[in-house]
């Protein structure tokens, strides 16, 4: 049986892992290679590196980070943050990424999804959607959550799938870093609308939040950062908890 995936996210700035609350107030959380190694031992299923500086000067620093992580662990590795062009994606892949995650660029230039899916296969292309609840649905934001994209998350997820995306990484901006739980309603709405896997992100605080997002939220995978970084909880303990609650996981 296909298991539910637990994905650790490393938000990387200047080669170091940091983490904020609702996209603000960054704080230092460690060395990416070291954290990846620990997560691998604990049984993490995948690792995502999100480059949150993503300026041109930082490109080479990012490549070094990807290479360091990819040389340590033999698990699926996704790189996102500031991937704007085919060249950016190629640099990430050449450094050792298996998948690239597109956010702002996918909305501004949707053909990039198709171009990368043709070059690397759909399995290598994740479209990341940052969304906030509104009375009339789920509003998509871009540019690290600063700009209203005037799109609905469900409709955009469907379009991304039709353009060749292989997975959707859906982040609730309302919940990001709050530890108040995943937005299960939003996750279920998107997951039910597409055939490709949906990775839920934003709000993980307790093990039960993961149980909820895999049941009520219909998520295929769940991504978290802070809950793992500060060694508050181990991946192994989380997976034991999920298994005890009837969720299939790799242990």
């Amino acid at each position: 049986m296909l298991t539910k995936r637990i994905i650790a996210c490393l938000d990387v700035r200047d080669g170091q892992v940091v983490k904020g609350v609702q996209f603000q107030q960054l704080r230092h959380a460690g060395d990416p290679g070291e954290l990846a190694r620990r997560y691998n031992v604990e049984g993490i299923d995948e690792v995502v590196i999100l480059d949150i500086t993503a300026t041109l000067e930082k490109r080479q620093a990012l490549a070094r980070t990807i290479h360091a992580v990819a040389s340590e662990i033999f698990l699926p590795l996704t790189v996102g943050g500031g991937i704007r062009s085919e060249d950016d994606a190629a640099a990430a892949v050449d450094a050792g990424a298996d998948k690239v995650s597109l956010n702002t660029a996918a909305l501004r230039y949707p053909d990039l999804i198709t171009i990368l899916a043709r070059r690397y296969g759909s399995q290598a292309v994740i479209v990341a959607i940052d969304a906030k609840r509104r009375d009339d649905g789920f509003a998509v934001y871009v540019r690290s959550g600063t700009t209203d994209a005037a799109r609905d998350a469900v409709a955009w997820a469907r379009e991304a799938e039709s353009r060749g995306a292989g997975e959707i990484l859906l982040t609730s901006m309302d919940r990001d870093g709050t530890k108040a739980g995943f937005d299960c309603d939003m996750t279920a709405a998107v997951s039910d609308a597409v055939d490709i896997p949906v990775i839920a992100s934003g709000g993980a605080g307790t093990f039960d939040h993961f149980t909820d997002v895999f049941t009520a939220g219909h998520a295929d995978a769940a991504l978290a950062a802070s809950i793992f970084h500060y060694a508050e909880s181990s991946v192994t303990d989380l997976k034991r908890h999920l298994r005890a609650h009837g969720i299939p996981v790799r242990l």
């Binding site: 049986m1 296909l2 298991t3 539910k4 995936r5 691998n40 299923d45 990819a70 040389s71 662990i73 033999f74 698990l75 699926p76 892949v93 050449d94 450094a95 050792g96 298996d98 690397y120 296969g121 759909s122 399995q123 290598a124 292989g166 997975e167 055939d195 490709i196 896997p197 219909h218 295929d220 995978a221 790799r250």
Partner: protein, 204 residues
């Protein structure tokens, strides 16, 4: 020396890193002639079956010839699918045909929320003992990402079930293949690669 065939189907970086971590002596052949004298051949691949058309002609002859001469041949993902006769994903493109059968699209199941593509970690159910799976137990979890899969035939040594059951690993004499990505499957995957390297150094 092991030949890792690069036919432009996606990204070989992960396979290279895993082989390097295991201390394998490997190279990427520039021409089919470079396969002469190699101890083993690995055909990786991610993406679309149509990409294997790059192997048509002299590559197919060289790889098929090496396999017929007893050189261990290992297909990974689309590389395993290519060992079969063909795929519904690209009906006009012939596989190597060293294993009988045809690659077909996976089924999903909306009621059980089983999606296609099949992405993630799933269990290997061993169907018989196999050199490729030495050191692993049935039930081991490995990482898949695919929409098409091989039927369970006599060569199947491990099956995996999504909406339907398909061949996750095949083995017959010097022919080996896995649908999943051993280079992305943590310790279980590294063990499978290590097993193939041992088979390669044994020479058959």
């Amino acid at each position: 020396m092991i030949a890792l065939v690069d036919y432009g189907a996606g990204n070989l970086t992960s396979v290279r890193k895993a082989l390097s971590a295991l201390g394998a002596d490997f190279m990427t052949p520039a021409t089919p002639d470079d396969l002469q004298g190699t101890r083993a051949v690995i055909v990786p691949g991610v993406g679309h079956f149509a990409a294997t058309s790059a192997l048509d002609g002299s590559w197919r002859e060289a790889i098929g010839g090496a396999a017929a001469a007893g050189t261990p041949l290992f297909g990974i993902c689309v590389g395993m699918q290519w060992l079969f006769e063909g795929s519904d994903e690209a009906p006009g493109v012939a596989g190597l045909g060293v294993i009988n059968g045809r690659i077909a699209r996976l089924d999903g199941n909306a009621e059980q929320r089983l999606k296609v593509p099949h992405v993630g970690w799933n269990a290997l159910d061993f169907t018989r003992s196999a050199r490729l799976l030495r050191g692993l137990d049935s039930g081991a979890q490995v990482y898949f990402t695919h929409s098409y899969a091989a039927p369970v035939t006599a060569e199947c040594v491990a099956a995996t079930t999504h909406a339907n059951t398909f061949a996750a690993a095949v083995e017959r004499d010097n022919i080996f293949g896995v649908q999943f990505h051993p280079e992305k499957s943590g310790d279980a995957g590294l063990q499978i690669l290590r097993n193939f390297l041992e088979i390669a150094s044994a020479g058959r």
